[in-house]
């Protein structure tokens, strides 16, 4: 009898140890990112957010542990496919990351074929969600940027706008969407496209100054484009009331690098600078970010964090239900409805987040103030106001 009890006790101990081991099992998640090549800066920014999400999730979840395995896709589509396949062979259960629609499209195709969930915030091209990939999820989109840009222009009651935009896919698509939305509201819009290779924007700004005579210049491009446009505008001083842009403009880095060009410039911004977080999740993100990277968090990190936390939480739920390798991660993501650092996130049938709306920030006294929408504002809008 004594022996039987001993055996039972031993079996119970072994079972408990096994369950403990199972619970403590590390779940591998892949991160496919451009850490070198033309998209290296944005890829590195997103990676910071992903690593912060790993840190916060592992500290707070208490049951499951996530291990992120990162592969550099070198900003090249063929290498993005290879990265996804390598991560799959390493046993990851899902992929987070991706930047640039030309890399995300083939990489998410590869993930789809392998039955892996792919979640990103790095591509706003609508064809990504129209392609019918059942394991594809995205937390931001072009429509959210359009709403913010149009919303701000409406709030300042702009009657005429000149849109200066790069011919690249995301920028030209957004510029045309904004043009349509503004025209529908009776705003006079002039369109000026430019090749991504050009650096001298004086001819375009001259056209705006002498021909369009618009109230606002809306820039839809990337960092170098903004700098070129703002430099040209500083020289020619068109009689506009505001300079407005989109991504990578209302950032602390731009304020620090171009203090003479940025004052009063508007751009999409999720965060004021210095960063302020009111929620527990936001504070956890900011604290972990500062601990890991010794700097203030930026919007790329914020996007990377949000997409990864949503994924990790879905993985945890799927693991609890025992459906981790039976499509459970995608099912759990489809059930997601959560207030996050970028607003409410849900996923539609195509994997897109219909709730995404960006915010608009303005460079004011070397700080970034959120000025749109009113409910998120951290300061008053300065209008009319230009950098010169």
């Amino acid at each position: 009898m004594k022996t039987t009890f001993k055996r039972l006790a031993l079996a119970a101990l072994v079972s408990a140890a096994c369950i403990g081991a199972a619970n403590a099992e590390e779940i591998k998640v892949g991160a496919e990112l451009p850490l070198t090549g033309s998209l290296a800066r944005v890829g590195a920014g997103m990676q910071e957010g992903i690593m912060v999400a790993q840190e916060v999730f592992n500290k707070t979840n208490g049951k499951h542990t996530i291990k992120v395995i990162t592969i550099d896709d070198e900003s090249a589509p063929a290498k993005a496919i290879a990265a996804v396949e390598k991560l799959a062979s390493d046993g990851v259960v899902a992929i987070t990351g991706g930047y640039g629609s030309n890399n995300i499209s083939p990489a998410s195709d590869a993930a789809n074929k392998l039955g892996l969930v792919y979640i990103t915030s790095g591509g706003v091209d609508d064809s990504l969600v129209a392609a019918g990939r059942k394991n594809f999820f995205r937390i931001n989109n072009s429509a959210g940027y359009e709403k913010a840009l149009v919303g701000l222009l409406q709030d300042v009651n702009a009657k005429s706008v000149s849109i200066v935009y790069s011919t690249k896919d995301a920028t030209s698509g957004l510029a045309k969407d904004v043009e349509k939305a503004l025209a529908a509201k009776g705003v006079k819009v002039a369109m000026h496209s430019f090749d991504p290779a050009i650096t001298d924007f004086k001819p375009i700004i001259n056209k705006v100054k002498l021909q369009d005579k618009s109230e606002v210049i809306a820039m839809v491009g990337y960092e170098n484009d903004y700098v070129g446009i703002l430099r040209a505008a500083r020289v020619l001083k068109p009689s506009v009331k505001a300079m407005v842009g989109v991504w990578s403009l209302a950032t602390p880095k731009m304020a620090a690098d171009f203090p003479d060009l940025m004052p009063h410039v508007f751009g999409t911004a999720l965060l004021p600078f210095p960063a302020e977080f009111k929620t527990a999740d936001g504070k956890a993100f900011a604290d972990a970010y500062k601990t890991l990277y010794k700097k203030e968090p930026d919007y790329l990190g914020q996007f990377g964090y949000v997409q990864s936390m949503l994924l990790f939480e879905a993985i945890a739920r799927a693991a609890d239900k025992g459906t981790l390798k039976k499509g459970g991660v995608a099912d759990e993501l489809r059930k997601t409805d959560k207030e996050t650092l970028i607003g409410r996130v849900q996923f539609g049938a195509n994997g897109d987040n219909p709730n995404f709306v960006h915010r608009m920030g303005q460079h004011q006294d070397k700080k970034i103030v959120i000025v749109w929408p009113k409910e998120s504002a951290t300061g008053k809008i300065a209008y009319p106001a230009t950098p010169w």
Binding site: A78, I81, K86, N102, P106
Partner: protein, 312 residues
């Protein structure tokens, strides 16, 4: 001995590699990407070696081949295996537009053909009704599953077969009367003209052959990636990487550019990238410098010297 060597290559390409790594998606991806670069490198070397023309504009042929094949198959329902050679023909038509640059020599030819590549990229961006503009073409169909093999294996077999066919064509051209004339022209175009060779016609022919080969491999890549946009299709990497591969392997040989592409790409991705997840291109750069300094004729020449050494 010669036939045994050919048989061994065929056995290795069609049996050993598929059996050894066919089940591993990652390795197959690496191989397909390396073979595409090898194919473009072969086409570049053919023009440089036999035509005596250093081209910095092969990205135009790659891009046009990719676009023609992608549009025909994705928007007009042309079967992929038919669209790929049509992509090559599209690149040939583009090379005809480039014919005026054949009047130029040396760096002037290189720069003029580079400008053409830029023109085609802008055309692909602006002609949005056909090319999809900067948004590009998505949902490009992949190679069909052949005899129960998956898409990846089909891509590999198509790429290998095309490399072998083009290498054979290269060999035949080189051994022909035209090949001899071209090689003579490479050393002295004026002297060759004096003996009655029409160098412009020969160079035009070589440009068209080279464009066809690069266009076909651009098409293969488009069907493998399933997505195309102007910046990617006409990227400068489609010139620089094949040139590096051809010079590394030995651009005066037929196998050199392909071997060079396989060694450069696979060593970089499978070895150096594992050791240095970022910045691994540095190792490759150092290796290339060493190769050019110590064996400017390339890897194949170095291997031949090593083999010949014991008998010397």
């Amino acid at each position: 001995m010669k036939y045994a060597k050919i048989l061994a290559i065929l056995m290795f390409a069609y049996a050993v590699v598929p059996l050894a790594v066919g089940a591993n998606n990652y390795y197959m991806s690496m191989l397909v990407a390396a073979l595409v670069i090898g194919g473009v490198a072969l086409s570049w070397a053919l023009l440089g070696n036999l035509g005596g023309m250093v081209s910095f504009g092969h990205s135009a042929f790659v891009g046009i081949g990719a676009y023609v094949s992608a549009i025909l198959s994705a928007k007009h329902g042309v079967p992929v295996l038919m669209a790929v050679p049509l992509g090559g023909i599209g690149a040939v038509l583009a090379s005809i537009v480039m014919m005026p640059v054949l009047r130029l020599r040396g760096p002037y030819f290189a720069l003029a053909i580079l400008a053409y590549a830029h023109i085609f990229r802008i055309l692909a961006t602006e002609w949005s009704s056909v090319t999809g503009g900067s948004g590009g073409v998505s949902g490009i169909p992949g190679f069909p599953e052949l005899f129960g093999m998956n898409n990846k294996m089909a891509s590999y077999l198509v790429a290998v077969t095309l490399i072998l066919v083009f290498a054979l064509a290269y060999h035949r051209i080189r051994a022909s009367y035209y090949g001899i004339a071209l090689r003579a022209m490479h050393d002295s175009e004026d002297a060759t003209r004096v003996v009655g060779v029409n160098s412009t016609v020969l160079k035009a022919g070589m440009l068209m052959v080279s464009a066809f080969m690069a266009g076909v491999f651009g098409a293969v890549n488009a069907h493998y990636i399933n997505f195309l946009e102007p910046d990617y299709a006409f990227n400068a990497l489609w010139v620089t990487l094949p040139i590096v591969a051809a010079i590394f392997g030995g651009y005066r040989t037929i196998s050199g550019p392909v071997i060079g592409a396989l060694v450069v790409y696979l060593a970089d991705q499978l070895v150096f990238k594992t050791l240095m997840p970022t910045g691994h291109q540095l190792v490759l750069g150092v290796l290339l410098v060493l190769m050019i300094v110590f064996s400017p004729s390339g890897l194949m020449s170095l291997l031949k010297k090593k083999q010949a050494a014991p008998h010397a």
